[in-house]
């Protein structure tokens, strides 16, 4: 019946570049249907229209034979500066932070929004996409600020429209890493956060010499307090407990990035319906906030019912390492399906785009990756990537360099190769 309806719909419009029938894949839906073998995925106008065995090919729709290989949703690239920086050490190419108050001087500018600086033509994007990454959360990380600014979710399709609707995120740094911004004590962080909240609620006069926020900052923070997503960077178990209490007090959903010691407070995190974005490779005490780091952090949290998403251990340029992190989480006790979900469905849902990306289900964006082996295995590469149903060229600055140097040089220097 469904098929019939679809076919009828199709008669009306001709096939476009966003139409494809992917035949005979092992479809890892990252959704309620789990993994479906020998399944087809029908994409029309960039949207997944049907998933199942032996689908009919609507007229004009191109067929791609997957030969039984693994098809996954396009992967999450973690919190990153993809499109916000070209070369990390070259400040002129980096737009993910501001220092309006001067280098290292604390400032509180929640109105700072990095998504405006997003460059869809960044050379980092094709590299990420070759690794099967199709969406990321642009991150404000103003080093001098407790409230680092806003970011949002973008799809890595080179579309200039930047952040996906309704996905603005506010980033707040807590713990030892933020000490320098808050007078040297993490107690100061809550003091200042509480003050900012009071200002946003109009409980402090603009004229006070101690105000933290500009009028625009007050408006921005007020919007988040009224029902937005704030991502807190925090690792130490004691700090996570404080954060949970802060979020409870202000009615905020709990989104944590870091969470090195989250396993210690798994019960509380579960009760708070939290999502923890963690680095699955972190097992060393990089500082005193991370003393409890361990490789089975993800597995322990999921076992306790906490929602776990991953971040890339090496963000932005090497964001593709998130897939390796997922594999390692699986090697350390997470189920394979939860491993895949941690870099697809879970981050998408936590960031407000779960109805568009992160699963292979009817109605979702056709952002897909086809793999030449187990998608979580390091020796596996992406064979094809579709975004909005369009096959993306697996070509980047890196592959062009490779191709130039793979061959013996001719009589002319390599600069003459294309």
């Amino acid at each position: 019946m469904k098929r019939l309806v679809l076919s009828l719909l199709l008669v009306a419009g001709s096939a476009t570049a966003q139409d494809v029938l992917i035949r005979n894949a092992t479809v890892h839906t990252a959704g309620s249907r789990g993994t479906i073998k020998n399944a087809d995925v029908l994409v029309q106008r960039g949207i997944i229209r049907s998933v199942g065995p032996k689908l009919l090919t609507p007229p004009g729709v191109k067929v791609f034979d997957a030969n039984g290989k693994s098809l996954t949703p396009g992967l999450f690239a973690g919190f990153s500066d993809i499109g916000l920086e070209e070369v990390s050490a070259e400040k002129s190419t980096v737009d993910s932070s501001i220092e309006l108050a001067g280098t290292g001087v604390p400032q509180t500018r929640p109105e700072f929004d990095v998504t405006i600086a997003y460059n869809p033509a960044s050379m980092v994007i094709p590299v990420a996409r070759m690794g099967g990454l199709t969406f990321t959360a642009l991150t404000a990380n103003s080093g001098g600020s407790l409230i680092a600014g806003q970011g949002g979710v973008v799809r890595l399709d080179g579309d200039p429209s930047a952040a996906m609707t309704g996905t603005r995120l506010l980033f707040v740094n807590l713990g030892a890493g933020a000490d320098g911004m808050t007078g040297g004590s993490r107690a100061g962080q809550y003091m200042l956060l509480d003050q900012a909240v009071r200002e946003a609620r109009g409980q402090a006069p603009y004229a006070s010499p101690y105000v933290l926020l500009t009028p625009a900052g007050r408006e921005t923070l007020a919007r988040y307090l009224a029902g937005g997503r704030v991502v807190f960077s925090v690792d130490r178990a004691a700090d996570i407990r404080q954060l949970l209490s802060f979020c409870r007090k202000h009615g905020l959903p709990v989104l944590i990035t870091g969470g090195a010691e989250a396993w210690k407070v798994a019960t509380e995190l579960k009760a708070a319906n939290a999502t923890v974005f963690l680095d699955a490779l972190q097992n060393l005490p990089s500082g005193f906030d991370q003393l409890g780091s361990r490789l089975d952090n993800a597995a322990l949290l999921v076992r306790s019912g906490v929602k776990v998403a991953l971040v890339s251990p090496d963000s932005t340029h090497n964001a593709r390492k998130i897939r390796q992190a997922a594999g390692n989480a699986v090697a350390n006790g997470l189920s394979w399906e939860d491993g895949l979900a941690s870099i697809t469905r879970v981050p998408a849902q936590a960031l407000g785009v779960g109805d568009k990306v992160g699963r292979i289900e009817v109605g979702m964006e056709a952002d897909l990756a086809l793999w030449d082996g187990d998608p979580l295995e390091v020796s596996t590469l992406a064979e094809a990537v579709w975004m909005h149903g369009t096959s993306m060229p697996l070509r980047s600055r890196q592959t062009q360099l490779r191709d130039r140097y793979l061959q013996d040089p001719g009589t002319l220097p390599r600069a003459y190769s294309r």
């Binding site: 050490a89 090497n318 140097y405």
Partner: protein, 474 residues
């Protein structure tokens, strides 16, 4: 530049090329490493990657008295040997990381632990990484769980000439001397490019350009050449008169002739190190990203008569792979790091495979990271996959050399470890599967024949002093 002249009874200069090979270089901070006594071990019926380029199916490995006794099929267990069923397992030589900062930039990364870069002057060959190596870095234990049995600890790359590196066995100890790889030559850390010129140029000092970098190396080596001449002259006895006399480098009376020595030249720690490099006693390891800069460093090496053991990081090594192979220089590389600075912009995921490709190519997968060192096998697996996709079919028996035999060669310890050959140190890893997988675990790790890590036995998992009493270890 400060050149402290600390009187030390023994000079370490005796390790000249003519020294008897059996005698380790005179070292005022000598290794006190002792292998941990262990019963003989027979690993039976495993897939063995020997590190010599061979893959042996259904094979056995016998170790005894800290050494590999035999590798092959149907071997006899020595008297009292522990027999381990290797069915379904893979056995490799212990992994060697040619580039680590464990102990000098340890966890936790607090300010008191920043001991890897003596950035008080751009040329500090006088400093030795080993003198800052904190043996309680928990990173040694996690590296061991990744199969790493030896590593070189290097100073950082803030300086043009950063100081001496030290090669250690990955054993838990209270002192670094008890980890120090017996007889391993020192490394000399040098750095090209952005780091030194940024560190000093940003302070308004020199170097602030790549021109200044190269001038800095040359000036240092010119000074060291003069120093070396004065020692050579002194040692050959041609000082005040023309009559040659035999003298030792530390200016004692020559035991054979009984002749009274002339005053030896004043010792200079910085120049001693550079002299050691020029005499071939100290291996030169150069942090260098760009192909054009590697070519300059190869010319520098010729100008001053030293050999480059390896270019480290070498993000552009693939552009110069044939030259590196022809000159016998290894490329110690990451799998996929790129873009974090301009000199890392041209990274490709086929770098390792392309450096490995020429005849005599010497590719090494290195970490420079407390995380990366734990899974060098995975890094290699990524490189094999990208090599394969680019038409270079690299088998496990070849790729394992990137982690074992090749770093051993660069470090000058290939006579001792890096392959599973009889007589070598019994540095051995048993893996639960092919090591080239994200799901691979090092199940058992032997150092000199002693089982020092066992994934299934907590009593065989080291914990650093630092990790005690924190209520966090599983």
């Amino acid at each position: 530049m400060s050149r402290p002249t600390i009187a030390i009874a023994l000079a370490m200069l005796a390790a000249s090329a003519s020294a008897a090979p059996a005698k380790p270089a005179a070292d005022p901070y000598p290794s006190t490493y002792q292998r941990i006594p262990a019963p003989a071990v027979l690993i039976r019926n495993a897939t063995v990657l020997t590190g010599t380029g061979e893959r042996l199916e259904g094979s056995d490995v016998v170790m005894d008295q800290g050494r590999i006794v035999a590798v092959g099929q149907g071997l006899q267990a020595p008297e009292g040997a522990q027999v381990i069923d290797g069915t379904g397992k893979w056995v490799t030589p212990g992994i060697i990381d040619v580039h680590s900062h464990l102990g000098v930039y340890p966890s936790p990364g607090v300010s008191a632990h920043e001991d890897g870069n003596e950035m008080s002057s751009p040329v500090t060959p006088n400093v030795w990484a080993e003198h800052a190596l904190w043996p309680q870095d928990p990173g040694f234990g996690t590296a061991l769980a990744g199969g790493v049995t030896s590593m070189q600890i290097l100073p950082g790359s803030g300086n043009l000439i950063g100081g001496r590196g030290v090669t250690v066995k990955n054993v838990s100890a209270v002192t670094y001397q008890a980890m120090k790889f017996p007889g391993a030559p020192w490394g000399l850390k040098m750095a090209c490019g952005e780091n030194p010129k940024r560190v000093y140029g940003s302070k308004g000092g020199t170097p602030m350009t790549r021109m200044g970098n190269v001038a800095g190396y040359r000036t240092a080596f010119i000074d060291a050449q003069a120093y070396m001449r004065s020692w050579d002259k002194y040692l050959s006895g041609q000082t005040s008169d023309e009559t040659p006399k035999k003298k030792s480098r530390w200016g004692k009376q020559d035991e054979e002739s009984g002749a009274k020595g002339d005053e030896p030249p004043s010792r200079d720690l910085a120049k001693e190190t550079l002299m050691g490099a020029m005499k071939g006693d100290i291996r030169v390891h150069i942090h260098c990203y760009r192909a054009d800069e590697m070519a300059i460093m190869l010319d520098l090496a010729k100008e001053f008569g030293f050999k480059v053991a390896a270019f480290h990081h070498g993000v552009e090594a693939y552009k110069l792979a044939d030259r590196l192979a022809a000159e016998g220089v290894c490329g110690a590389l990451w799998a996929d790091w790129w873009g974090f600075k301009m000199e890392a912009l041209d990274g490709v995921e086929e770098n390792v495979a392309l450096v490995d490709r020429p005849a005599n190519g010497c590719a090494i997968v290195h970490s420079d990271s407390s995380e990366g060192i734990q899974r060098l096998n995975q890094e290699a697996a990524k490189m094999m996959a990208h090599g394969r996709a680019a038409g270079m079919d690299i088998r496990p028996e070849r790729a394992i050399r990137w982690l074992t035999a090749n770093p051993a060669k660069a470090l000058g310890i290939d006579g001792q470890t890096g392959t599973l050959e009889s007589g070598k140190m019994a540095d051995v890893v048993i893996w639960n599967s092919t090591p080239f997988s994200v799901y691979a675990h090092a199940e058992k790790v032997f150092v000199d024949g002693a089982l020092l890590y066992d994934r299934a036995d907590k009593s065989r998992q080291p914990r650093s002093d630092f990790m005690l009493g924190l209520g966090v270890s599983p």
